[in-house]
Structure formats: C-alpha cells, structure tokens
Symmetry: C2
C-alpha cells in the first residue's frame, strides 16, 4: 500500500490556527516518523492560515519524537507583512509539544530564473537506473518503512556503507521520487531535504541519528520530475553531527536546502 | 569609545523569563543593529534561565529591525531535558516583536576533541597582519560603526569589492577579534557567525542585505584568541541569498557555523 505524500501529510482544520493530523506508520524509520515529513505538516498548516502561499524558511527544534498516530498542530501568526509573513507552529501529541517551528512564508513566482548560483555547483550523479534503490530495511537490520513509500536512489560510489566499507567522505548523492509520480511542491520539499539516510553512514555505522534542529529554505517552485539530492556530514563533535542537504529539480535549479544538527554516537 | 561585547549584550532581569537590555548604537551597520549581536542577547537570556549553560543551536526569524535603544527580552522553557533543553525567546521593542528565536541549550565540555572534521576543510587565510581591516564606512559610503568596535580583517584576495572589482566567488575569508582582547564564548560566537560583510559584496554591489532567518550551531568551547571565518554566498534567487558561515578557533577547531537567508536586490 503506497500512499500519496499529500494524503499522509493532510490536515483537518478544527478551529482558527488549529488542525488535526495523522502521522503515518508508513512514513517511519524504525517506527520513528521522519522529521522532514513532520515539518512539512507544520508548513502545510502555516500556509493554510498565512497571508502568503509558500514556505520559504522553516526552523524546527525537536523536543520529543511523536509516535505514529493522532497529532494536533497549532499556528500563530507573529507578523503578516507585505512580501513575507512569520508564524510559530507546534506539533503536539497527547498535549505534549513534540516540535516547535518558526516559519517564514512568501510568494514564489513561476517562470523566474536564478540570478547567481556559482557558489553551489550541482553534483554529477549517475542516471537513476544506475543508482541503488534504498530498501525498506536499514544496514543494521531495522525496518525503514518510508523507503517503500518513496523511490530513493543513491550513487553506487556512495553506497560503501551497505557493504561495510564506508567511503569516509560522509556524503550521499542520489535521486528522490514521490510515489504515484506526485510532483514536489514547497511543502514536500521540506521532506526532501531530510529524506536521505544519515550521511554519517559513509563515515561509520551508527544507530538512530535524532535531529535536534532542522532549518530548511525553499528557493524556487520545483519543476516536475525527480529531484537530485546532495546530503553531507561536515563535522562530528561532542556526539553531534551537522548535515547539510541540497535539492535540485529536473531543470538543474537549486529548489531547496537544509542544515541540521543531530545526535550521533561514534568513537 | 570601544565597549566590551559582554557589556553591550548585558541583560537586566526584570522577572521570571523577562529581561531589559539596551541595543547599542555602536553595534550597528547604517544604524541597524547586527542580527548576530541581537541573537547573542537572546541566547544570553536563554542560558540565564535554562537548565543548561550553553547555547548549541539557535534559529531566529527576523520580523522588524529594532532601533538602537531599549528592548525587552522574554524566554519560555519548552522542554527541560537531561542532556538538552529547548526555549522560545523574543526580542521586543515598544511592545512589538522584532525577533522570535528557538534555542536549544546543552553543556559543552572542555578538553574534548572532534571525532571527524574531514567534511569541512579549514581555509588557508593569510596572517592577520597581511589582511585588510574593514573600516567603519561601507563601500557605498554608509557608516558601519560596529567595525570600530571589533577588529575584522579580510584576506586581500577577497577584497575586490573595495576596489569595485568583485572576485565573483561570493566568498570572504578572514579574522575576527573582540575588543580589549575579550575571549569568545558560545554567546559571542553567535555574533561571530554574522559578523562579516555580506558575501554578496564579492559578487556585485548591494545595499542593505536584511536577514530573514539565521540559524547558528555552536560546536565546541572556543580557545582564546582571534577566530578564523569563512563566509560565503551560495545561491541568489528570487531576491534572496543564502549565506553560510564557519568559525574556527585558534587551535583550528570548528567552533560555530551558521546559515542565513537574506533579502538582496541585484540584477
């Protein structure tokens, strides 16, 4: 049973700035919901209520990992501006705050082009057919049900971890496609920037790498088709890793990016 | 008159989770306070009240730029955990929210070393004596009083903008020292990650580049001495630029980093 992203991230309005939602068990990694998927739900709430239709910046601090099942989402408009607005959002389960996020919304226009993108060269990635689809089970043998919902493929050069010989580069490149050919939009791009396995897999084996903070920017409306993803670890220190992720659409435009700080046990 | 950073970012407690502060005119760029300086004040408030002494992640959304002068700061503990806590903070002026930020605090231990830092090579920067100190006036002739408070020096190879011939790389490397030899700490590192001029100067001349969102991570307690900074623009699209900044201490350890989304008018 493969679901649409728009269905598993759907909200039911229950009052001004209040929504009910259902976190899908199918969108979990070892029974824990993906953090980008949850942030996408918060952005859906923020753009349902906001004066502007698109999320352009979202910063989430993760307090507790919710279980799959019923959650409540609240939004509070902090400022409604002319070109951008800011909202505070929360995801709660059984009355407990699981995530609080700040979201800036604006209007992204179609038919525009970037002014300058030389600071971030798009990586070369083999054709999706030559990449390796990530299966619904982790290298440590744990269930990763979300990988049965999306088609996530990694450059074979970055798959050393699957054979027990990580490259040591801390970098994963590949492709991501939503189920049933659903196109990406600013909301699902918040999932895309957190979709890849931990880039630390290409350094050393780890267990769960829980996100403490995730900030994502959406830079442009994505063209239809799969997105190209570069996900990399930069520094591991004090049992924390920072990972940065970049997402290009099928025209080669950077459409979203993220940075996250996550817990990791190594060494 | 050169002030201590700890003085211009000092707070006066006025109640549980409430502080008064004074935004210094001396810490402004064309009369607008530096965004990292303001975020440092919020982190000082968060760590005054929190169960943990150090900020490790701070995400700020900027609603209005406050004027120099009196501001109020509020903090709300969202979760007090064993190894980390999360707080919401606000900076208000005349009752209006200027900044809302989420802050995660923890305890950074001395005498530790990074586990892996190969994902982020430290840049080569000429000795501070061979770098160019940024003066208290912008290339556009506007006052930048903050540069009379700190000693900020840029690699001459990245100073094309000052001669009207930007390198086109969108990158600034250099050194930052606080006045009176004050050592950096996790709080002043939040200023350090936003201290450099806009990296867009090395692409094309611009006016004010207002920060919409700034996320900073503090990775380790910094050693004494000046910090080495790499500040770079990645993509300019839809009148927004993302800039990333990395700060290494005098031992060559990455101690802080940031990403920001800012408005920019070009092209």
């Amino acid at each position: 049973m493969v679901s649409l992203f728009s269905d598993v991230s759907a909200l039911v309005p229950t009052g001004p700035g209040r929504f009910d939602a259902e976190v899908s068990l199918d969108w979990t990694i070892d029974a824990k919901p993906n953090g980008g998927y949850l942030l996408a739900m918060l952005a859906r709430a923020a753009t349902s209520d906001a004066p502007h239709p698109h999320v352009i910046a979202a910063s989430a601090h993760y307090l507790h990992s919710p279980d799959p099942g019923a959650v409540a989402i609240t939004t509070t408009v902090l400022r409604a501006g002319r070109s951008a607005s800011q909202l505070r959002t929360q995801l709660l389960q059984d009355g407990r705050i699981c995530i609080e996020a700040l979201i800036t919304t604006s209007t992204l226009l179609p038919d525009t082009t970037p002014y300058w993108d030389r600071g971030l060269p798009m990586p070369v990635v083999p054709h999706p057919q030559s990449c390796v689809r990530v299966p619904g089970v982790s290298p440590m043998g744990r269930p990763v049900r979300i990988m049965e919902q999306v088609d996530l493929r990694i450059d074979p050069a970055d798959m050393g971890f699957a054979r027990g010989v990580p490259s040591g580069r801390g970098e994963l490149k590949g492709w991501l496609t939503l189920s049933h050919g659903e196109s990406f939009d600013p909301i699902s791009l918040l999932y895309a920037v957190d979709a890849f396995p931990p880039a630390t897999f290409e350094i050393a084996p780890t267990g769960w790498v829980p996100t403490l903070e995730l900030t994502a920017y959406v830079r442009a409306l994505p063209a239809a088709g799969p997105v190209r993803v570069l996900h990399k670890a930069q520094v591991i220190d004090a049992e924390k890793v920072d990972e940065t992720c970049f997402v290009w659409d099928s025209t080669g435009r950077l459409v979203a990016q993220s940075t996250q700080l996550a817990g990791v046990r190594l060494g």
